[in-house]
């Protein structure tokens, strides 16, 4: 809460804010307000959880990918997500938290992850739509986060963005192939766009006037653009892409504003947004159950690795 900031040593706080104003990064050993640390832990761990939970909807199609090339592409993408998750968990640990505690919060249902992964992947075209729209939206967010004030997070984002760009191209290429394929494939692509469009817009979070966390985040350059600004940027990029491959954005209110050069979009279903955030989306329970099952089923493996390492110290090096 804001009063926390005022209980911080005013001199150190002033130095901290001056440093950010000079566009210098904050590093793990630097002093930082408790609220800044907490915000970052919240954002970064949510991001890491999202990468890990995000493996599930796409992993759902690895065994059904329709060609060897697609199978390898999807497997590599999901593997990248595991890598991102690991990388961000490690970056989060620089803020003095333990990865295992963060994972426990996810499994207990007290930590959030991106709501988009609580929607089901029903057809192969969903794999294209996720790459194109979900990774596309993530890139818009992360390009901004790559300039965030906290050094380890910003650097993680630079690296992750490069891979996400590749994923987005891969997803768009899947959509392009389907949209230009048979009549059934085109319909499959359109259906996926219909289902993923609005949840993708929701990825940017509540409208600015309803976003309780944004003020401090902006001032401390944890974020540098508001939710609505980023959402608009994503819409502008994506509408043109949909048109290029002959797919229709499922929004009758969509129209181009000549003056602002923005594509104005219709009202997001905020009831749906909050319903999914609060745990009542189509797959919230399944996703957490799958993570818990993997964790529980792996308990004996982790115990074995620890027991082996303890027996063979210091020679053993165990993951």
């Amino acid at each position: 809460m804001p009063q926390n900031a005022t209980t911080d040593d005013p001199r150190r706080l002033a130095e901290f804010e001056a440093r950010i104003a000079r566009c210098k990064t904050i590093e793990p050993k630097d002093w930082m307000p408790e609220r800044y640390r907490k915000q970052l832990i919240r954002m970064m761990s949510q991001h890491a959880h999202s990468e890990v939970v995000g493996m599930l909807p796409e992993g759902n199609w690895i065994t059904r990918a329709p060609s060897l090339r697609r199978k390898m592409g999807l497997l590599a993408k999901v593997q990248d997500e595991a890598g991102h998750g690991l990388y961000i968990y490690c970056s989060t640990e620089t803020l003095g938290v333990d990865r295992n505690d963060l994972i426990q919060q996810l499994l207990a249902g007290t930590a959030k992850y991106s709501s988009i992964f609580n929607y089901p992947t029903l057809t192969w075209a969903d794999i294209g739509a996720i790459g194109w729209l979900v990774d596309g939206a993530a890139i818009v967010n992360q390009t901004m986060l790559a300039k965030a004030s906290y050094g380890p997070y910003a650097r993680a984002m630079v690296r992750i963005c490069k891979e996400e760009n590749f994923h987005k191209r891969q997803g768009f290429e899947i959509m392009t192939t389907l949209a230009g394929g048979t009549r059934e494939q085109h319909a499959m692509a359109q259906d996926a766009l219909d289902r993923w469009w609005w949840p993708s817009l929701m990825m940017f979070g509540p409208r600015d006037k309803d976003s309780p966390n944004s003020d401090d985040l902006l001032r401390w350059k944890v974020k540098q653009k508001t939710n609505d600004e980023l959402r608009q940027r994503f819409v502008n990029i994506t509408v043109a892409q949909a048109m290029a491959i002959d797919l229709t954005i499922p929004d009758p209110a969509l129209k181009y504003n000549e003056r602002t050069k923005d594509w104005e979009y219709g009202e997001i279903d905020w009831e749906e947004f909050w319903r999914v955030v609060r745990g009542n989306g189509p797959c919230n329970r399944e996703r957490l159950a799958a993570r818990r099952r993997a964790h529980d089923d792996g308990a004996w493996v982790r115990a074995a690795a620890e027991a082996y390492a303890a027996k063979h110290e210091p020679a053993a090096s165990v993951a």
Binding site: S67, D297, G298
Partner: protein, 250 residues
């Protein structure tokens, strides 16, 4: 020669495709994130090898089929993988034990094929040797950890070996096809590296404080398309899209 070589390339390719597919089933469900990454990595190597082998098979066959047609439009009876590759993934101990037994064999096979008379296959082998070395190291390290870890992990690893061992004999079967190809310098004769493989396995199994079971009968049949019941289900899932939308491009 070309029919026999085609058949041999299918055996090599199907082993990798089927095992890579089984391994890919773990993605997102591994015991730790690091293992999700490692298993996906090995699965990618195997499917990548399969892709090259089936491409080569398609070109040797020269009948208008491509690698995807071979992967997605053959029925279980036409698959030529060893049975060990198609068994369901089981628990982590089963997956690791299978990977070790297979990869230790595949490494020896690739080493032999690196000097194959066919330049394409020799090239695939040269690259695959490096990949397989990592697969052997990774799976051996885990097998040792599991065997010499806790009571539970030891029991699970032993169960896995007990179940899997009877499928390893098939990896060393040779028929007229392989013998003739080996004679022509186009195939690796597995009898040439059986004792080396056995030693690799014995060493790791000993370090893992595990033991190999006695075998009354070696299970076999994959090379002639006589599979377990598991492969048909696996292929039904894997092939669903190309089968449902004939002629579509993806």
């Amino acid at each position: 020669m070309s029919n026999r070589f085609f058949e041999y390339l299918l055996r090599l390719g199907d082993d990798r495709l089927v095992l890579g597919h089984r391994l890919s089933e773990w993605c997102g469900h591994g015991p730790i994130l690091e293992e999700d990454i490692a298993m996906a990595n090995i699965a990618l190597d195997l499917i990548g090898q399969a892709n090259l082998l089936l491409l080569k098979a398609a070109s040797v066959e020269n009948a208008g089929r491509d690698a995807d047609a071979l992967a997605y439009l053959r029925d279980a009876r036409e698959y030529r993988n060893a049975l060990i590759a198609e068994l369901p993934r089981g628990d982590f101990a089963f997956t690791i034990a299978r990977q070790f037994l297979f990869s230790a064999w595949a490494l020896r096979q690739w080493e032999a094929l690196a000097s194959c008379r066919d330049a394409d296959l020799a090239g695939i082998a040269a690259r695959a040797v490096k990949e397989s070395r990592y697969h052997v190291r990774h799976s051996a390290e885990w097998l040792v950890r599991l065997g010499d870890g806790t009571e539970e992990s030891h029991a699970r690893a032993q169960d896995a070996l007990d179940e899997l061992w009877r499928y390893t004999g098939e990896l060393f079967l040779t028929d007229a096809i392989e013998r003739e190809l080996a004679h022509e310098g186009l195939a690796a004769d597995p009898s040439a590296f059986r004792s080396a493989w056995q030693k690799d396995v014995d060493d790791v199994v000993a370090r893992a404080t595990l033991r190999l079971p006695a075998v009354e009968h070696w299970q076999q049949g994959g090379r002639t398309g006589l599979h377990t019941e598991h492969l048909g289900r696996m292929l039904a899932e894997m092939q669903v899209l190309p089968r449902t939308y004939p002629g579509a491009r993806w």
